[in-house]
């Protein structure tokens, strides 16, 4: 009998089985359940609909304000206040409200709510991010989340696993985002990675810091995958030290585990990549779009709003000023990231360079507020989606790239290659 992949092992472990097969449906114990501001009230309402008035574990239900802060309308503001009352009523231990807020997925990892070998779910699609620390992270519906809040369990279809073995050396200014985009171009959006577990392995992955790993796992949902995962290693250990809210142990795929497919990628050959407007998988090397004019740049989101991303931006913009035709918006991924960036001097550097820095939140990525696109806007974004209308107007164009490309381009006023910075 062959071995199991890390995702299969976690699924077996959490559903009390010796082994699981891809395609099988299992009920697994969830480590944490996350819900955010705009679905929070609904999720609690669904919980009450089950006749349950106490969550399964008040330390493991995590509530975060991220999509609607600071509130853009009285209706949202009122809904948030009602939600706050519910969170209080349920004595939720970890409530990341305005003041401690951040993008939910950033909070879940940064505050140690997800640990290796566990399953965590959230009511937002980018819960895949948790794979960065060797956990299975999954997005679920409001009723799934309510059920999990009630009984601590959720059903899962055990996914087939696909491995990306990544070797080689990262070129300067090439980031995990470029690898993500490269895979997007290679495999296509909603292509043959639908419902799969994507496992990233190899020396070029080991070389990635936690921020890069989060970017990589984050975007697996945009490939249509069920989850993305990187087995815990020394980087994970160091990151979780003093951060993890619970004990955890190392876990890895068996050497004889079965994969539906294994792809090898040499990162040495990957340069900065850009996804062209409207189609996530219309990905090209930067050479193809160099010189394209744009008027807005955005760095933030659960994909690329971390300290390391801000550091790259600050490094490139240090002592310089953004191009006068470009408005650059930075939205740190969390209040903690903001504070860390402040202490590191990045905020000073960036404000001096002409960057607008706004409240940690999902901001315009979700098209709800804080930087919504207008007609004819051409946006270069370090976010994760570029479908028509994603950031507002259907007549706006969104290019996706790494923060390094955004920074280099912001200086030039046209899409530019960061490797060519003198």
């Amino acid at each position: 009998m062959s071995g199991m992949t890390i995702t299969e092992k976690i699924m077996a472990l959490r559903s009390g089985r010796d082994r699981v097969r891809p395609g099988e449906l299992v009920w697994a114990n969830v480590h944490t359940v996350m819900t955010m501001d705009y679905l929070g009230k609904q999720t609690f309402a669904a919980l009450h609909e089950l006749g349950v008035h106490e969550v399964f574990d008040r330390d493991r239900v995590i509530c975060v304000s991220d999509h609607l802060v600071p509130p853009p309308t009285p209706q949202f503001a009122t809904m948030l206040n009602e939600w706050r009352e519910l969170v209080k009523q349920h004595s939720i231990t970890y409530f990341y409200d305005l003041g401690k807020q951040g993008i939910a997925h950033q909070i879940m990892v940064e505050q140690g709510h997800v640990v290796p070998g566990t399953v965590s779910i959230g009511t937002d699609s980018h819960a895949n991010t948790y794979g960065a620390v060797g956990a299975v992270g999954n997005a679920v519906s409001v009723s799934d989340a309510a059920v999990a809040m009630a009984i601590g369990k959720c059903w899962f279809r055990v996914p087939e696993s696909v491995k990306f073995y990544v070797t080689g050396t990262w070129q300067p200014y090439v980031m995990a985002k470029d690898l993500s985009l490269h895979i997007m171009g290679m495999m296509h959006w909603n292509g043959h990675l639908i419902y799969k577990a994507l496992e990233f392995e190899g020396p070029a992955i080991t070389a990635l810091d936690m921020a890069g790993r989060m970017t990589l796992c984050n975007m697996t949902v945009d490939l249509g995958a069920k989850n993305g995962i990187i087995a815990p290693d020394h980087v994970t250990q160091a990151y979780l030290h003093g951060r993890a809210k619970t004990d955890w142990s190392m876990i890895a795929s068996d050497s004889d585990a079965e994969y539906e497919a294994v792809y090898e990628i040499d990162v040495t050959n990957i340069g900065p990549m850009v996804a062209r407007p409207d189609k996530l998988d219309d990905v090209v090397p930067i050479e193809h779009v160099k010189g394209t004019k744009f008027n807005k740049a955005f760095v933030g989101t659960c994909t690329n709003g971390r300290l390391e991303d801000i550091a790259v931006l600050a490094h490139i913009l240090q002592g310089k000023h953004v191009h006068p035709d470009v408005n650059v918006l930075l939205v740190p991924a969390s209040q903690q990231v903001y504070l860390d960036a402040l202490k590191a001097g990045y905020i000073t550097t960036l404000v001096e360079a002409g960057v607008a820095v706004d409240t940690p939140s999902c901001a315009a990525c979700a098209g709800i507020h804080t930087g919504v696109a207008g007609d004819g806007d051409v946006i270069l974004s370090a976010g994760n989606r570029n479908m028509k209308g994603r950031m507002g107007s259907k007549n706006a164009q969104i290019y996706l790239s790494s923060p390094a490309v955004v920074a280099a381009s912001a200086l030039k006023g046209v899409i530019a290659d960061p490797r060519e910075l003198s």
Partner: protein
């Protein structure tokens, strides 16, 4: 014991998007299998683009190719509409994750069976045994083996959905047995 299902299949290898199964003007209508069934599949094929156009064909199974009900829409009307039109199981090479969860949460089996679509034509009669996962094409004699359907999916269907299913489990004290 779950009885084998028998009925006529609608089969197509082409991409079947969620937003074609339920076209945009019906997204906001309430979740109601009878209502949702009236125009289900209207965007998939011109012959279904009339009231009860798909339902009146009397299909029991759908056999599809890659990424059934994909396209990023999570609307639950897709599943309730198919169920309301009499669909008892959907076979495909792969499914949209969002709609897979919706289907299971309403108790409609979505069964991954690679390549089945190459062996089934619209109008073929199929038999499917959820407890073994065996699929027989009565018309052609072709057989395929899928994974058995987890028994809880039928229980969810019987309860009328995930929420009631869990309520029942809580009430009879068996919720901890879920695994």
């Amino acid at each position: 014991m779950i009885q084998p299902l028998r009925g006529i299949a609608w089969a197509s290898e082409k991409y079947v998007y969620a937003f074609d199964i339920i076209v945009q003007r019906f997204w906001t209508s309430p979740i109601d299998p009878v209502e949702n069934a009236k125009w289900v599949m209207a965007g998939v094929d011109e012959e279904f683009n009339k009231e009860n156009g798909f339902r009146d064909k009397g299909y029991t199974f759908i056999v599809a190719g890659h990424n059934f009900a994909g396209g990023g829409k999570s609307i639950e009307h897709v599943v309730t509409g198919l169920m309301g039109a009499g669909i008892k199981a959907v076979f495909a090479d792969s499914f949209s994750r969002l709609q897979f969860r919706n289907a299971t949460n309403y108790g409609l089996p979505f069964i991954t069976c690679k390549g089945l679509v190459q062996h089934v034509k619209t109008g073929d009669e199929l038999e499917f045994d959820p407890s073994t996962g065996l699929i027989k094409n009565i018309t052609t004699g072709f057989e395929a083996q899928a994974l058995p359907v987890a028994p809880f999916v039928a229980e969810i269907a019987a309860a009328g959905g995930l929420m009631q299913f869990i309520k029942n489990k809580i009430a009879d004290g068996t919720v901890h047995e879920l695994r």
